[in-house]
Chain length 402, copies 2
């Protein structure tokens, strides 16, 4: 590299390319239980909607457009969220390039170097570097069967205040089918979290990729729906509901927050073409049918993976999620999830070691528990899921027999 | 707004929505000479390429994809740039969401709060807040008929060093058909700029939106083609060549720079769908025909605007550009461009006051010259251009007669 002077945030970044396994890069026979890829057979036929967008609306879809996003799509998303218990208008919404772009924009809005943020332990691991590049301190809070422990958070805030430490700027959480733990927060815990955040002027960043991928039970109101204080910044995405390749999502927040976020969204507006394709698909009868199909298919995959695990690896504890893409496995305490992930990958089963889901581990602040792995059931078809768990059990037996 | 604590960069941002005039928002009869919108009749028919992308390649285009961008598109861009004098491979390229996203990523890589950057006076005004949000100091350097004055820059660097001020981190420039001044740097000036930057470890950010929209004369090698030191970060875009609504561009730089930029590209990869549509269009015979059509059409528009100005407003000096989208008008020294822009807008002609193109003016550091306006000939059709200049001349006569 030329002798250029880098920013502090960039000087520490590794130049090693991240070793992702995209479907197109998988070797034959490899079974992908690692990332939350969409099931290939569930990707919808968007051709008719692209034709409408590219022909009937060419002057709009191929032209520059407003930074906030196209009004029709924002109206449609507001309606989608209002049918889910919110009271929003298009003015509450900013279109973003997927949820990760939303998390980054919120970080730009709120975070200065040295700020603290609250995360769960474990947490969605891809968000760790998104927040981390802002030079933040991660405050890890545990979860129980109702999600993030508000009592532990309250005690931590009090202890920090007593020690003269700054209050955290935001709380990052996935309240529905938490990634990776699978937990869905019940109503009372949600209310307690919002009240605590509002009292302490802490923003809540509610990440909701899986909210509409619910298999059973009634939906609990979203944090945004319960927020009477304006502290919740809600992040939504079309990646799980329609297709990840569109890179399209939204932030729902107070209009004054949205106005500032627009100014920070440097590319000046997401693709008007993709926005129109989504709008045309969303208002067509194909959309509801697609969502129903997605739910049924992922439920079937979850059930197949659970049944296979129960038969092949009964000593492993599994948190059964009511929706989403993932199973969070708790191995017997002496079994090393990092080693299991490495051995499984060598045997052609890609999965992710649980230790990667702890922010403290990545910053070297804390040793994470090692007896977890995360499995995704979203990408492989049901028969492959079963075959993969059989192979994983062989790896597990070989490893634990040594 | 809820009582949340914002980051320093965001606390100062106005919550006023930027008052852009998108084509869909224009009142009837308004003539848009302001922004660099694409001519509506030049937006290509991408339907056949979208059909290929959405059907034959659905498992790729609707799925997550690699952060660096799709290999086929990067190969094609490398080839495009190599036919323009560069020696690149796909490893030198990062796909970004339009050139503005590229400028923002480069800023994230290089800029810490308090750093200085070098810009031209005047400069592309949309880039001012993109750099500005990083808390940088703008060092404005003048231009002559050969572009940025390297002698003035060298003297400024020496003076700053003598005063103990930090060296700037980057030089931002549009070397071909500069926006707004229209100047194209000749070879000798380009070489002098690169040598000065390399000697001082300053990155050059070469923004090239209009490079392939050349109307006459031979292309001068790009700064990237001339860069033997690895100091040039080249930013390209498909906005002017294909369609702005795609929001797709690229950065060409050393692989070690690219690897770090990937880590900073928070959304995790631009839309695989848009990338495939571009690739299918780019490798089809339709692409070269489209580029030729774009050049011819914008040359015709430029010539019509120049002829109209020459007839209607002969006292206004115009820098005639060999390509691009804009005319930079120098008014008689006592005529106020800000007032002309306001009066013109009231009469239904949108144009941009020249004072907005000076970074120092936006930070309150320096009073910009007031006797300029920028006209874009890209959006209006030739007859509308002529009618608009006639109306602009009436506004000008009424204003200067007072």
């Amino acid at each position: 590299m030329a002798d250029l002077r880098l920013a502090r945030r960039a000087a520490g970044l590794s130049t090693v390319f991240p070793g992702s396994h995209f479907p197109s890069e998988l070797d034959d026979g490899v079974i992908a239980f690692d990332s939350g890829f969409a099931a290939p057979d569930l990707l919808p036929d968007l051709t008719p909607f692209a034709e409408i967008a590219l022909n009937a609306h060419r002057g709009e879809t191929l032209q520059y457009s407003a930074g906030q996003g196209q009004p029709l799509l924002r109206d449609w998303i507001a309606d989608l969220m209002n049918r889910d218990g919110c009271t929003l208008t298009a003015q509450n919404l900013l279109i973003v390039n997927g949820a990760k772009n939303g998390l980054d924009l919120i970080s730009r809005l709120l975070l200065d170097e040295g700020d603290a943020i609250v995360v769960t332990a474990p947490m969605y691991f891809t968000a760790i570097p998104i927040f981390g590049v802002y030079g933040v301190e991660f405050i890890e809070i545990g979860q129980d069967e109702a999600g993030i422990r508000v009592d532990e958070l309250e005690a931590t805030l009090a202890r920090r205040a007593a020690e003269g430490l700054t209050a955290p700027k935001l709380i990052y959480n996935v309240a529905d089918f938490h990634n990776p733990s699978g937990v869905t927060m019940p109503l009372a815990r949600r209310r307690a979290l919002i009240e605590l955040a509002a009292r302490n002027h802490i923003a809540i960043v509610e990440d909701t990729p899986y909210r509409r991928v619910r298999f059973e039970g009634e939906a609990v109101p979203s944090l945004k729906a319960l927020d009477t204080h304006g502290v919740v910044l809600h992040v939504g995405t079309f990646s799980k509901l329609v297709a990840p390749g569109l890179r399209m999502g939204w932030i729902a927040a107070d209009p004054a927050i949205i106005a500032r976020l627009i100014r920070l969204k440097a590319e000046g507006g997401s693709s008007a073409l993709i926005q129109r394709i989504l709008y045309e698909f969303g208002r067509s009868p194909a959309f509801d049918a697609h969502v129903a199909r997605v739910r049924d298919a992922y439920r079937q995959r979850r059930d197949r993976m659970l049944a296979s695990l129960d038969r092949e690896l009964p000593e492993i504890r599994v948190q059964v999620p009511d929706g989403g893409y993932y199973l969070w496995l708790t191995l017997p305490v002496h079994v090393d999830g990092d080693r299991l992930a490495a051995d499984a990958e060598a045997a052609g089963i890609n999965l992710i070691a649980g230790s990667r889901f702890f922010a403290g581990a990545t910053t070297g602040n804390r040793a994470p528990p090692r007896n977890h792995v995360r499995l995704s059931y979203s990408f492989a078809d049901p028969d492959t899921i079963e075959a993969g768990i059989v192979r994983l059990a062989e790896v597990y037996r070989a490893m634990t027999a040594r």
